[in-house]
């Protein structure tokens, strides 16, 4: 009912804006301003190593560097192809830098 909606506390849109911005701004800064530029090379070399043992698809690989608190987290996510024997292995490594 509209009458009761009037008293309902809607979340303030300004704080929503601030939260969304702090995430996106922090993420874009790691990419452009302070982030290391070796990520693409690192990705290539890691792939070369893994490719010796497994056939992998480039589209199924992501390399991310995130800052959480005081430490940087390098996240490497590789989805290995669906090949027997099941179940499809999923390799995920997290290295603290």
């Amino acid at each position: 009912m509209a009458f009761f909606d009037y008293f309902k506390r809607a979340p303030k849109s300004a704080s929503l804006a601030k939260d969304r911005l702090s995430i996106i701004v922090a993420r874009e800064r790691t990419g452009t301003r302070s982030g290391p530029d070796y990520l693409p090379a690192l990705q290539q070399e890691l792939l070369a190593v893994i490719a010796r043992y497994e056939t992998i698809d480039l589209a199924n690989v992501t390399v991310n560097l995130d800052k959480s608190g005081g430490c940087e987290v390098l996240e490497l996510n590789i989805v290995l192809p669906d090949t027997p024997p099941p179940p499809p292995p999923r390799l995920s490594a997290t290295v603290s830098a």
Partner: protein
């Protein structure tokens, strides 16, 4: 000693040209020889906002291409002494501005005794915007309290730190200032708009001033007369504060809190 100041933002429509016109006018009013350069090649508007569009004969690109002398392209403001405008070209050639040409003109302006060279940047982060910031000593980043504008301002801060003459030659970092425009204290109070504090926290650069949302901005561009010239408006007062603060005077920040109105004001205002 001359200072090259870029007025930039990334996002369009936040008030770069309005700010360029008002700050250049305000600084010139204080007796400093000032020029405002329009870097928005193809979409020139500073001449219109400053009311000298009918006096444009030669432009920035003509001077770079040696088709005209700098003195021929500079327009002297009729209201304020010491104030000059260098209009942009309406050419569609994207490569009309190059670092050599722009650097040469800025050097020539310094030789002519201009103390403040205000570079009005186009929107975006492409070549035009990069040319406007390339030779800057200082930057005024114009931002609206709104998500896309804040995000773009942060991107521009990244460019200022990397893609400028100072950054490339390893000189001291460009001094950056935040100018928050179109601010509505009432909406901030209601929690419907990012506050000055929010934006400062997100961008992390010092605050030069806050310009309130006001009809006076549109009215002044309608007339082609910078708002700062009519001292009765809040926008003029806000820009005057900005100019004095920029020139080194202490000024309390205003227009951040909603003005307290009396009960009569509320009933009859």
């Amino acid at each position: 000693m001359s200072k090259v100041v870029v007025i930039t933002s990334g996002k369009g429509g936040v008030g770069k040209t309005t700010t360029s016109a008002n700050i250049a006018t305000g600084i010139a009013q204080q007796g400093k020889k000032t020029v405002a350069i329009d870097f928005d090649v193809g979409l020139r508007n500073l001449d219109l906002v400053m009311g000298c569009e009918r006096r444009v004969v030669y432009d920035f690109v003509n001077v770079i291409r040696n088709e005209a002398k700098l003195q021929q392209a500079l327009i002297r403001d009729k209201r304020v002494e010491n104030l000059y405008i260098l209009p942009a070209s309406q050419t569609r050639d994207k490569d009309a501005l190059d670092p050599e040409g722009v650097g040469r003109i800025i050097e020539e302006l310094k030789q002519m005794g201009f103390e403040y060279i205000i570079c009005d940047s186009p929107a975006g982060i492409e070549k035009g915007a990069q040319m406007a910031m390339y030779f800057a000593d200082e930057a005024i980043v114009v931002t609206n309290p709104e998500v896309s504008s804040v995000r773009d301002s942060d991107r521009v801060l990244g460019l200022l730190a990397a893609k400028t003459s100072r950054a490339e030659l390893g000189g001291p970092a460009i001094r950056t200032h935040l100018l928050l425009t179109r601010y509505s204290p009432l909406m901030v109070k209601r929690g419907e708009m990012l506050s000055v504090g929010d934006v400062l926290e997100l961008l992390g650069i010092p605050l030069l001033g806050v310009i309130p949302e006001s009809k006076a901005v549109l009215q002044s561009s309608n007339k082609g007369s910078p708002a700062i010239l009519d001292e009765t408006t809040d926008v003029a007062q806000a820009y005057l504060d900005v100019v004095f603060r920029y020139l080194g005077q202490e000024r309390q920040h205003r227009f951040i809190e909603e003005e307290k109105r009396s009960i009569f004001g509320r009933l009859f205002g």
